[in-house]
Symmetry: C2
Subunit: 456 residues, 2 copies
């Protein structure tokens, strides 16, 4: 545990660093980099120019420092700072990275450079790195660590403790994984059990045999859910033949949970799923947001078409236009509420995708309760607000609000479930999809109700 600085001190570190960079006080910068936790350095690098980011990386006093900094940096910064590093320097830094980080970083380079780097890294690591790179993105195989403590089931406790003592320093070793002669995972022993057992016992006598494991292709989100649900500290990863391949540790699960939540937040708002969007230029930013805005634009144009269709009604009763925003507004909001509850429920396991009918029914009920309440309120006050005395205007507006809210909850709750069942991420554009659909439905309903009640 290296002492980390407190968040109030981050801005001090940032301004000091900026001042030293301006003055080109490179020796001082190196000194600070030696003493500062790399997580803090990574944090302040986000707000520096690309030139300064590269400068800071190159001023790290040793390859070990560079490696620790790479572990903490955002992906898009890693690419930039390594751009002009030689393969030799990269292979030096790689000696201090675990195989998983090596695989992630190599994966960022074009294929030709990947091969060059792979030939320069340590032979022991090469196979592991290539193995991890072969698994699909965001799978258990791609996020697992190969640096694990495994022993054969016939090893004695005494030998095991000796082996542990000669194992490289690593405070993420929570369990000793026990394998049979074919490297299949047969059990697990906690370090504490190991220390408190008789020296002469064999691992197979003290190990727990009932263990859960992920396969290499298990989605990282599923791994995270399991670790969280059962309070595990690590989950082993095995292949189809139950051969032990690695583990996903709880500190990586913390990162996975944060990343997945961020992606869901961004996707629900229709901003793509790039967590590093804040580091992107305004143009790149606009590009990844444009498609979702287009969805709502098309929806808005459909609504315009519907309203144009009811042109003659609107000419007769111009006040109807005034209530368009409130009708689509409340519908959109209550629909967003429903879809958010369902999307988050699906992500945390609170919503069971196999049993969604009661949920949609309940949302429909909530929508109609709110619809009755607010339909009555707005309906009764509509005539007062506009100052127009027209029989049934309140009825039209109240009824439209009721229908809009009721349908909005049903649509809001159903869209994520349908997306999930079709194999899409339910968070994908639930927001824009839902609000756009509700805009169109709300406007259409409103004018149909108005023409039915007011014209006859």
């Amino acid at each position: 545990m290296k002492k980390a600085i407190f968040s109030t001190e981050i801005s001090l570190l940032r301004s000091t660093m900026q001042r030293l960079l301006r003055r080109r006080a490179h020796t001082n910068i190196s000194k600070i980099l030696r003493k500062t936790h790399q997580a803090d350095v990574a944090l302040i690098m986000r707000s520096l120019s690309q030139y300064d980011q590269k400068k800071i990386f190159s001023l790290c006093p040793t390859s070990l420092h560079k490696a620790r900094l790479l572990e903490e940096l955002d992906d898009s910064l890693i690419e930039k700072v390594l751009e002009h590093e030689s393969e030799k320097s990269i292979s030096k830094i790689f000696r201090y990275l675990d195989t998983n980080d090596q695989a992630t970083i190599i994966g960022m380079f074009p294929e030709s450079k990947q091969q060059e780097i792979l030939t320069k890294i340590e032979v022991d690591d090469k196979d592991d790195v290539e193995e991890i790179m072969s698994y699909p993105d965001d799978s258990a195989g791609s996020v697992m660590t190969k640096e694990t403590f495994t022993l054969n089931q016939n090893t004695t406790v005494k030998e095991s403790i000796k082996k542990l003592q000669s194992f490289p320093e690593n405070d993420k070793i929570f369990y000793l994984y026990v394998l049979d002669n074919k490297e299949k995972l047969v059990g697990v022993v906690s370090l504490r059990t190991l220390v408190t057992s008789k020296n002469s016992k064999k691992l197979k006598e003290i190990m727990i045999k009932d263990i859960q494991a992920a396969s290499t292709s298990t989605d990282q989100e599923e791994v995270a859910k399991k670790v969280a649900q059962y309070n595990y500290l690590a989950l082993p990863v095995v292949n189809r033949q139950n051969k032990f391949l690695g583990i996903v540790t709880i500190d990586d699960v913390v990162d996975i949970i944060r990343e997945e939540a961020s992606e869901d937040f961004l996707q629900m708002a229709g901003v793509g799923k790039d967590r590093e969007i804040l580091l992107k230029s305004p143009i790149e930013n606009a590009q990844s947001r444009a498609p979702w805005i287009l969805a709502s634009l098309i929806g808005g144009i459909c609504a315009a078409g519907i309203i144009s269709y009811f042109n003659s009604l609107l000419e007769q009763i111009i006040v109807l236009a005034a209530f368009i925003p409130v009708i689509i507004g409340v519908g959109g909001n209550v629909g967003t509420q429903s879809s958010t509850i369902v999307v988050r429920g699906l992500a945390t396991g609170r919503v069971d995708a196999a049993n969604t009918f009661p949920l949609i029914l309940k949302e429909l009920l909530v929508g109609s309760i709110l619809g009755v309440a607010y339909g009555l309120v707005v309906g009764f006050t509509a005539e007062y607000i506009t100052g127009i005395d027209m029989s049934n205007l309140g009825l039209v507006i109240g009824l439209s609000i009721f229908c809009s809210m009721t349908i909005a909850t049903a649509v809001g709750a159903s869209v994520p479930i349908v997306l999930k069942k079709l194999g899409f991420d339910p968070a994908i554009s639930t927001g824009p999809f839902v609000t756009t659909a509700i805009d169109i439905i709300g406007v259409a309903l409103y004018f149909v109700i108005a023409s039915t009640i007011l014209i006859n």
Copy 2:
């Protein structure tokens, strides 16, 4: 590690349990409860009736099973299943709970019953429980565990290992915390360092002295952020005099991160912050969602007032009404994008609250880029869509979309920052606030632009 069942098997467990409950096959239920991981039991209990929830709890074979189940249950279910348990039975179950869970559960009862239960729990635990209960909700003090492994700095390695062996089984012991004679925290030793150090050495010779700690009042979200950022496995909690009080472990941090993300999701959609909303009745559900809908209702009524004000303009150019949805729709969506990026950035530390001006400027730029692009598209097609040949109609609509989107990004990015600076949770109703504000501004701008360009 008790073998947990896979998610595909959860529905099988649920249907089996429901069948056995209908048949009152209580012996069989007890048998299943003995073999099933309590996290899975807690999961299926969510979808059972209140009567069946109580039945299952009462059929748990031992007090230990009941305790393990309580650890996994949602708060609102804990209250229900314990409602009719006697204080004696509760105190029996409590023997198997750590002091933090005891404090949380006791806190759910009315004050009079709290005292009764407190008198019945073990004397050793009583002080700890009362201490934890005295800290504010969601503070480091309220989530810390008191079951830690601490020793005086003058203890030898040999003695320490002996003490560790006699310590109750607990796989969440990652570090040995080292205290001075006044119980102040002076260092930390990893179990691995302990096992690999010479027997005769004293703890103060092998401990790491640079350690970071939280105070009892530190917000749990801050604790989680630190643990995630620095890859800690646990963070010690101390009082103002640096006296060691307990630790927050990484498995609790996993829960905190998930809970805080869920709360932010719900708050941003304006559904309150009750993570257990899915367990609530439709009426309770509608009640917690009603206030945020009211916000958008009031916004909608303001918009109605604005539109009514421009009544004569609208009578002349009725086609203006058709484009109300698209103008407030794209504004609302792009504003939600901005506020989501900022809210999530504040939560994960990617947005620095002290340096927000460049961020808002950038969002403004993104808004204007998107505004120009989509303003041109909609502006040029407006006349075609409506089939109306009117000079400058396209200009009005295009310009309104541009203004609406530009202002929406500025509002969307600023509201969460302002809320944060005022000491509110930025996620609170960012969604409803932002969309409502943008509805009003968008409509007003649209009609001002229209009357300026089209009337003169």
